[in-house]
Amino acid sequence: MTMPNPHAALFDLNRIESFADRDSPIHRIDPRAKLIVTMLFIVSVVSYGKYEVSALLPFVLYPVVTTALSGVPAGPILTRLVWAAPFAFFMGIFNPVFDRTTVTHIGTLAISGGWVSFVSILIRFSLTVSAALLLIATTGFMTVCDALGRMGLPRAFVTQLMVLFRYLFVLAEEAGRMTRARNLRTFQKRGQGIRVFSFMIGHLLLRTIDRATRIHLAMCCRGFNGMFARVQDLRFRSVDAAFIAGWSALFLLFRSVDIPRWIGRFVETAGR
């Protein structure tokens, strides 16, 4: 459960989530519909064999169209992808090491199965990650949680997930202040060891528990009964159904017809 670079990651998180405050046709789609389409998209993408490259490419249409229609800038999404890319790179780079059988040639260059599956992993990675990020950027984390709750996830789970997200930034700031305070008074490795660490974490934990008590009191003062009721009721409109149906049909088409290969063959025969 660890994050590679928590500070940068939290900053990006806040930035990407803030796009959800905007308004666009995509933003107005019911969060449940977006959640379902995102899941269908990811399942479709990962359902290919490991040597598949070209057939995956038409799926780019989903993130591209979503970005275009929602007005979410592509920059931060791509930045986040690049941040996470070393992770995918590291995971995939073993394939060329272990799978060296030549499977195809480009001109005179022999391409091994490992490189093909490596490229495939990178494409899958970019597609699945950007779909998840776009879900957040066009919907907002809290609304995704709400949608999950309405789709049958236990309320207790959804409520504490919302509380978690709400206090993520508050506590991260506290941790950041503590780290800064320690760094200002430690030199080389002295004072950076586990003893000081455990005091810091222990202290942060005690303060956090006190805060939780105060939050619970604040909730009780306003009649908390174990549930978070939200004001805006979601309404599933026909547009939302069409959104799901349209994308599902496209994903199914992409999944059953290798469109790039088909186009390529067409171009080749036309060229001859």
Binding site: V64, A68, M91, V97, A132, F141, L161, T208, P260
Partner: protein, 349 residues
Amino acid sequence: MHMADALISPAVGAGMWAVTASIAAYSARNVTRHVEDSRVPLMGVLGAFVFAAQMINFSIPATGSSGHLGGGMLLAILLGPQAAFLVIASILVVQALFFADGGLLALGCNIFNMGFFPAFIGYPWIYKTMAGDGSNATKRFWAILVAAVVSLQLGAFAVVLETTASGISELPFGTFVLLMQPIHLAIGIVEGIATAAVVAIVWKARPEIVVGTSTADLRPTGNLKPVLVGLGVAAVLTAGVVSWFASSHPDGLEWSIAGVTGKEELEAPETGVHGVFSHIQRWTAFMPDYNFKPEAEAAPAANKEKAEEATWPAIEPGTSLAGIIGSIITLMVALGIGYVLRIWSRKTT
């Protein structure tokens, strides 16, 4: 040790979702029934705390590297198994949605690997058995250490099994096991020591926080039945889904092919990775059970590859050029559509 969407097959992803969902449903029911409402805000805030705590590092003597708290075992000790499982699940949901750590499909795997073992194995069966009510500091220290190590070992092994079953990555099973388990032994020790140190401080300052959960017997003995039934149903479901996929994707079940999950809390030194690997390779070559392909004996491996090629007619020399041309055109068309849509949506709003 996050698994990623890009590395798992839908069968494994769906199966583990089913397993995780049944444990989560059981836990949520248990939390709302048995624990007063105050636990729900506490759970959420502690989840945020784990994120914050992970931002604080400490240096590990004599290694030059630094470690931090994972949090799973600490949550189990503070909240008990069911609530801790839900909090760990929430942390992973946030990570999957934002940090590209794991992914939505891999979420089921990740929650199981990192949540089930500390919450339902390490805490109730190891920590509680060894530490009792936890009042003896030495006993408590060792109990936490062993529980953390065992939980992480089991989790790491589950990662290996899941990636192997998915068959997207090429790392051989034996190599993968030998890579994952020692790394997670080290991570487990760091996690155990850090958790024990934090628990000791909380115990001293505010004993009532930890004692509350320690004295109550939260071991899910009487309630174990629904868990087992849920797991059974989920497992049957998984088997069904997997076999259904296996029939349509014969090589989706290549148990000989494994993947690696990625950068770890304790990074193996980047240099010399290949040296380490060739060493591990040589070692595992003596383990006949694992379908390992030593490079020196390329012949049988090549045969196998041919068999694979046969199932993937797409990759044939003549057609690759068409594929590349088609791919470029597809990408250009997709980007073109995006460009037109963006201009159009700017005009309409």
